[in-house]
Symmetry: C2
Subunit: 647 residues, 2 copies
């Protein structure tokens, strides 16, 4: 360390970033600390971008079809035929959402995160609602993706079914650890498994389709048992809508690219937009293909074997090497989808914390430059969900997607409002508004209609989802989001109130301190007490030693010793008929407090014994600690413990 | 409060004991605090003394017979006949112990506790062994007595069997609470149930004997099923000794009177001695009677119904009102036996803590004048035992009694040694030795022989117990007691070492303090920081404000604001390339530390934000706290946090 910059009484000690802090158990676990200057600035192209941002969206094909079938199953296997038209409706919805988002990306080249779009266009309450919805959804993304990944594993190895919760929680912890290290070479590391998954799953779908066309596609051999709790119900509109709602989980993760626009190579909005359209096309094609084939082979939705597993082993005639490789790639893409949430959740919570709606600590980057606290919070919450819902995708689905559609709706509504404002500007006029520049655009009307239509569609879908899945768990999220918004507002009020009260604007300065009264707590007369006395004498001349007397004999001894060692400092003996230590002391301090002059400050000096081993503390009373807690709320009283180390 | 006594710079603030502290939830639970002056000084006569001290010993008749039968059962019901001769042997042992203790009472009129007798005559290691043995045994007394009490209840109401652990733990908690309140009117409160139990149980035994003599005593109707795990084993000497060992649990609690000599009316040793002999006679008669009758009616030892229950319902021909009243009185006496341990354990641990072998806190009397910490410790440990051993008396018995016989042996050996020392004195000579006066006694030889014989007998019984019950659980205690002795010695060494290092004997006084360097931690410039600055300026003129810079923009802002508000105090900005807060600060302090002049002290002043609600702390970093923990072990550095309360 060397002082470099010195002016006006200010010294800045620069510390070169190559002086690495020492290794600890933590650095062994998550890697050496990274300097702030090391933050990565690399950008990525479209092909890598697809790999990085699309895993969440693409991986939903692993469970969306199955969840549609689960709902239709209550009307018997005959109802499975409805799955394909439902899938087509979902793909249409996907197209609407993607077109709407494409416009958003171009309007917000820095970050088209739904939170920012809502905040900048609709204000605090909608943006906090979006924030709460997204945070909830990121947690669910981890829980659902990992649970589905584990379901793929247990489909291949049914013996592991009983350990699904443990495996899932272990995976959440592993991904947490990886993210705490920080993923620097994310691009290539993501591209390989994503493209491998796409290759394997397309191969499966194409093989299936070819065999279907050539008539060699058989039904599922030895399908799982269809668990029907009641007699088959009639097919109602409600049932169809319910199945549709389950299928919309295929759309989760579509927003990832719009959050990550700044990561793309220039022209970044153009590249991000193209990538979004690629991703949507692949997702739509895969989803339709899988649903179509699942119906053809008579796949049965089940907790014990996933529909994907049934499809793959039917296409390849058994659990051979191709089956295992495909299932493995599906599992990996699902885990990577969870990984996406580990990037999104901490980033969003840091954003919200910077706005003062979440604890400030979430804005601190940890030793590896990642938002460690957010990563840990996400890991714990997702593990909790997995344990509560026993790693069942079907049980988790009713909680999922509401948040996604709520944030879709609010951000698209925000965009529509934004186009309307642009329409009010004079041609050529530019207005700087919060995070973005509003510039007149003659095509504002159709753009407003597109975003508005997107908002209306996703809003309707959200209502369908909430309504059809209300009793199955959607109520939890419908309760949780307003609750979260209340907490966020409470935190915001706290920070705002605090800033106001601590502000130096119009601050006149307090009364000058005029008297410093020092109270030295004496439990016994020994070297530690004398060290504290020496310190106290340095603070002020106005010292009173105070001893709380529980045992009169001992008090007499202390009086005698104090006469010898107390350096003339007066001592007050407080009798304690009820053998209490703190209470007489507090009474005494109260008494001084009420007779305090303006500008007088009281310091209580407590000799604190520091043992060699922490467990030695069990053998000593923790007076200083108790006193500090009790007096913390009193203005003008400072507790100082003078530690004396016994060597 | 009024200062009364003032001399030589000493003020004593008397506080009248009638100024009761305010009521709290604790005072509601355990009663209002009692003043030290309220400690009871009443003494009791023989009849009340018997009731107060004998419940532990007398209550063992409720399980001793059953435990003998449990062991003999492995040789089949035919072996039950051996129970009576075994009981006679146990009564003989009782007589030996009582005669031996009678002598001890006269020698130690203040307290003939085995711990004190051993400490004063045999030294530290034996006395700590006795202490460890007795503490272990008190815990077991609670566990065994309560478990047996609950077994009586579940004998009468078999439906409650599944809840036995819950009931037992609940009872332990209840007795703990009663003892935390303090039992003031103990005498009468104890006399009624004790004499009621004696009346009921003697009535049962006499009814049984009369019916036996008139030939109208039947066998047990519908006895519990005898649980035999293997084929009947032959009757071996080992088996007989094993059954004998189980029966010796009848002797537990005999030492209670010798611990309580000072509570008796004068002539107290005489009265205590007479009471001891009464108690032993009653105990012996009851034990023999119960064992004799149990064999005659063919009682079966069982976890589901106690032998006492079988005996009572056979004597009274069924579960009538007499049965219920007798069982109820047995349950109550067992609970009172547990209560005895609640008096003994805290008293002994306070004694050992005063000698420096247990944490000092155990010597503090709580608000109700009782040793609250010892009471709570006993309650928790006994509950733990009950849970581990599922409230089974038979499972707990192998752990019991070793401690009792070990302390018997050591205290009688101590007495024998004492008589030998007395024998070495000249006639008429008196020697003050630790707690007692040694005075020449011409009858020292026979007295030494009696105590010596007592020591040898109890030692042999202890060996028999340890040997026959080793695998069943005695090994736990044989391991635990040396371990406990090691812990006790460790604690003693800690206190002794500390006293030596803190001692003012040969203390020359430390270096005078010459320089006070104050470091003010600045996280931001606001009213709280300025309050801390005001305080720091009062401490010393040598102040340096220190800011750890994670974000350069923010640091620049702080520099600017400090120029305006910092009152000319110089500020040091510590750059933190790894975004760490504590480490750069510690480096800086280290640096100052190494360049420190002799007699220089460093105070680190940390502005600490005190929120209105404790949970607001979650929204703030706890720098002061972390810093205190980290710097605690550094000599010459004092951390002062100046709290600023936000109102």
């Amino acid at each position: 360390m060397a002082p470099i910059d010195q002016e006006h009484g200010t010294t800045v000690l620069h510390r070169p970033a190559d002086q690495h802090p020492p290794r600890t158990w933590r650095s062994w676990l998550i890697g050496r600390p990274l300097a702030t200057a090391d933050a990565p600035h690399q950008t990525i192209g479209k092909a890598i971008g697809l790999a990085v941002f699309a895993s969440d969206a693409l991986s939903s094909t692993a469970y969306a079809t199955q969840e549609i079938l689960f709902i239709l199953a209550v009307a018997g296997t005959a109802a499975f035929g409805y799955a394909f038209p439902i899938s087509i409706a979902i793909v249409v919805l996907l197209a609407i959402v993607v077109v709407s988002y494409e416009q958003t990306i171009h309007a917000y080249p820095n970050s088209a995160s739904a939170y920012i779009v809502t905040r900048d266009n609709l204000g605090t309450l909608p943006s906090q609602t979006t924030g709460a919805a997204l945070l909830t959804d990121y947690i669910l993304t981890v829980a659902v993706s990992i649970s589905s990944g584990v379901a793929q594993i247990t489909s291949a190895y049914p013996d592991l079914y009983d350990f699904r919760v443990e495996i899932a929680v272990g995976m959440v912890a592993l991904i947490m650890l990886i993210n705490l290290r920080g993923v620097k070479e994310s691009g290539v590391a993501f591209a390989i498994p994503t493209y491998f998954f796409l290759m394997m799953i397309f191969m499966t779908v194409i093989t299936g389709l070819v065999r279907y066309l050539t008539g060699s596609l058989t039904g599922v051999v030895d399908p799982p048992h269809l668990e029907l709790t009641e007699v088959a119900q009639p097919i109602t509109l409600f049932l169809i809508l319910h199945a549709f709602a389950s299928g919309t989980t295929a759309l989760t993760g579509v927003e990832a690219i719009s959050d990550g626009v700044p990561a793309f190579k220039e022209p970044r909005t153009h590249n991000a937009g193209i990538t979004l359209i690629w991703m949507a096309s692949i997702l739509g094609a895969l989803f339709l293909g899988i649903t179509f084939l699942a119906i053809q082979i008579g796949a049965i939705p089940s907790e014990s074997e996933t529909v994907i597993s049934q499809l793959v082993r039917t296409a390849y005639d058994g659990r051979g090497i191709l089956y295992l490789v495909t299932i493995a790639s599906t599992t990996i893409i699902l885990i990577m989808a969870a990984n996406t949430a580990y990037a999104d959740f901490p980033r969003l919570s840091a954003l919200m914390a910077a706005d003062g709606f979440l604890p400030r600590q979430l804005t601190y980057r940890g030793s590896r430059l990642v938002f460690s606290r957010g990563i840990i919070a996400l890991g714990l919450l997702a593990s909790l969900l997995i344990i509560i819902f026993q790693a069942s995708v079907t049980a988790l689905i009713p909680l999922y997607a509401i948040g996604v559609f709520l944030s879709f709706t609010l951000s698209q509504a925000g965009m529509a409002h934004r186009w309307w404002k642009i329409g009010q500007l004079a041609p050529g006029q530019e207005v700087q508004e919060r995070g973005s520049v509003l510039r007149y655009d003659p095509g504002w009307r159709p753009k407003m209609v597109i975003n508005g239509f997107g908002a209306v569609c996703t809003f309707i879908v959200m209502l369908i989802f909430a309504f059809t899945k209300f009793v199955h768990g959607a109520w939890i999220v419908l309760l949780l989001i307003p609750l979260l918004v209340m907490v966020l507002s409470g935190i915001h009020r706290h920070y705002q109130g605090l800033a106001k009260r601590l502000s130096l604007r119009n601050y006149q300065g307090d009364l000058r301190l005029t008297r410093h009264r020092v109270i030295l707590l004496v439990g016994g007369v020994h070297q530690g007490t004398l060290a504290a006395l020496r310190y106290a004498r340095f603070l002020s001349d106005d010292i009173t030693a105070v001893h709380v007397s529980i045992n009169p004999d001992e008090s007499q001894r202390i009086r005698n010793e104090w006469e010898k060692w107390g350096n003339g400092v007066r001592i007050v003996i407080l009798e304690s008929p009820y053998r209490l230590l703190l209470e007489p002391l507090l009474d005494y301090i109260n008494d001084l407090d009420t007779r305090r002059q303006p500008g007088e400050i009281i310091t209580v000096v407590v000799p604190q014994f520091v043992p060699r081993h922490w467990w030695h503390n069990l053998l000593h009373t923790q007076t200083a600690f108790m006193l500090r807690i009790t007096l913390l709320f009193r203005p003008g009283i400072v507790i100082t413990d003078v530690p004396y180390q016994v060597e």
